[in-house]
Symmetry: C2
Subunit: 431 residues, 2 copies
Amino acid sequence: MAQSPITGALSRESCVVADRSDPLALFKNRFLLPEGVIYLDGNSLGARPAGALERVQEVVSAEWGEGLIRSWNTAGWFDLPGKLGDKISRLVGGRQGETVVTDTTSLNLFKALASAIRIQQVDHPEKRVIVTERDNFPTDVYIAEGITDFLNSVAEESGVRYEVRLIDEDLPLAEALDDSTAVLALSHVNYRTGAMWEMADVTAAAHRHGALVIWDLAHAAGAVEVDLNAADADYAVGCTYKYLNGGPGSPAFIWVNARHQGRFWQPLTGWWSHAKPFEMADSYTPANNIGRFLCGTQPISALAMVEIGLDIMLDADAAAVRAKSLELTDLFIALVEQRCAEHPLELITPREHAKRGSHVSFRHPEGYAVMSALIARGVIGDYREPEVLRFGITPLYLGYADVWDAVEVLREILDTRSWDRDEFKLRNAVT
Amino acid sequence: MAQSPITGALSRESCVVADRSDPLALFKNRFLLPEGVIYLDGNSLGARPAGALERVQEVVSAEWGEGLIRSWNTAGWFDLPGKLGDKISRLVGGRQGETVVTDTTSLNLFKALASAIRIQQVDHPEKRVIVTERDNFPTDVYIAEGITDFLNSVAEESGVRYEVRLIDEDLPLAEALDDSTAVLALSHVNYRTGAMWEMADVTAAAHRHGALVIWDLAHAAGAVEVDLNAADADYAVGCTYKYLNGGPGSPAFIWVNARHQGRFWQPLTGWWSHAKPFEMADSYTPANNIGRFLCGTQPISALAMVEIGLDIMLDADAAAVRAKSLELTDLFIALVEQRCAEHPLELITPREHAKRGSHVSFRHPEGYAVMSALIARGVIGDYREPEVLRFGITPLYLGYADVWDAVEVLREILDTRSWDRDEFKLRNAVT
């Protein structure tokens, strides 16, 4: 660990010392975590920030209850998607006016794919392949399947066929890209392994084939440094309820490079995407800006809380967050490999800093039962098929000693085989 | 007014007497309305029900803050779309398992249209016309335009063309429907005029042409009696933040007749619509039920509050709600026509009970300024282009004397020309 604040042998004491000199240590006070929990699942659902409860109380009591319909104007509800989008832009290298917070990641991906396909239909009609990854988060593959199925239902009469092509061990990225590629849609950080694509290089490679590039930042925004415009990306989507701590199911975001915003409609042409929605015109004229990627009325209580988490993230130095994330993930890997060495744990996260995000995953043959036992002891990570123990590292509310303690609990569970009890083996839905 | 509780001449006293014998009067106590306001815009944003604040506090503090990721299972978050959908079904004549609460009305309309088009592509490929109304709520027209634009972008290479056909004064419904009609998509109650289609007859007429029928219940659910299965409808979508009092922008619903649920994917194939989302399979297999119409992760704080408003509505007798709605709208019309007779107000809402919903609209040449003056006096209705004063009548929290008092304020404003001041004439966005 180059420049790690931990010097000498790894010990709990050296972790406590590292916490004392952590420039981000005070951010932990801006989150409200339950007693007795080490929370290693902020990459699935971020922790509750201080101020979120007060904000939603204000929305429900004062803005809804007292302001009623007037609050669309007086409380700024109309402006929230763009206002929050501009804050997201500051985190991911977008310009002002390139991002809105709205709908879900799945829906925003549909809009981005549809917009990119529409552009290619005119510029390069021979390009009809969406390239993505077999190991991508499932919704990313499914949405690509959904859009191609829908287009093929009418296109095939004319011999046109859209296709989803999956990168996997047999088909690396370089071979998957060719002149038939309309769109390359990848997750910047893989939800299961934590592996990270090099955004600028991959974008450039796709552009050399004339493909447009969509980045899913669900496990990247707030976790790693992202600069969409420096990478010359075309579209990005992402999630606010993971590292951005917006609350359960809080609305997602979509970033569209300004050069693509004015060209074609995306097909989810709800009234919020109209140039002048309150003229109630009887035909559609899209907004000539990022507003075109809105659709319908947003859930204001959930949307308003997004700002609380975002403001905390914007107060933190992004480089410091990334540096601490790498130190903590390095520490987690080192401690597991030293202290649980005799157990069949296989690291599936890349060791190289440039190739990984902010979570660490190990396979274990009894992964589900092991994770259940960890959660019962208050170490909350999560489980992903197949056999994957996944540990999210969120530098704003986790410290070095937390990592030590979490690995200690893992070691005790493995050493005592306490995971090997029926209560931990019964498979239910685990998120 | 047959069977009206108001007997003899209309007076404030007769309204107060009518309130005393109103079987729904106590429901007003289940809503928290600001002092000094008569709220006639519950058809745009419903009032805050008692219990909504407490519910969202529980979601944020206990479920998110303490339960963290575990609450997806332990707090029942996963089950909310279906659980709330089943409650909606009870209000609109759906069967259990035919409705989910999710996403926005615009998006659910897209799903319904796409599903219906897909069915017709196989059953009746010559049907490529979506019939809707020029005077429909704009998003309904825009979404139809969006979906046809997207299909035509690939279909036209084969000479296939999808089309939106608009019912208007020159093209009545009976002439708009023909054997090319794939889908008829109408709002049950018109957002501007309050005019209501006869659901069963219209559905039967469309079915005779082999068209599938989608009903938008945004201004109907909770306002008029709806029986989707008795009408043999195919799809319905609607809103929870109007008469169902779910909160600003609360998620919408989609009902799909069980006979259509298993046939084709709708194209918004996010992971929540997968048969087994947590298997993280690398290809899409849709849920074989209404879950197929889900897409991505929902905003839990907003979704949870929907249940508070729904439970109040389910406690009320639907026939009593409709009866009181008709009495109050009759009263409103009668009072305006008697007491504001010398002013240029034109009723654009049908007088016939069977042909109207639960709001009343008048045109006035200075409609915007008049509504601004009303709002400044605490009588909150809303304004819709062109020149329309719209008054929503919500029987659960409005009484007879409220209607009297609202019309008195309107009369005073008109008699004194107090609307004729610059502060009321300046046109801003009005929701």
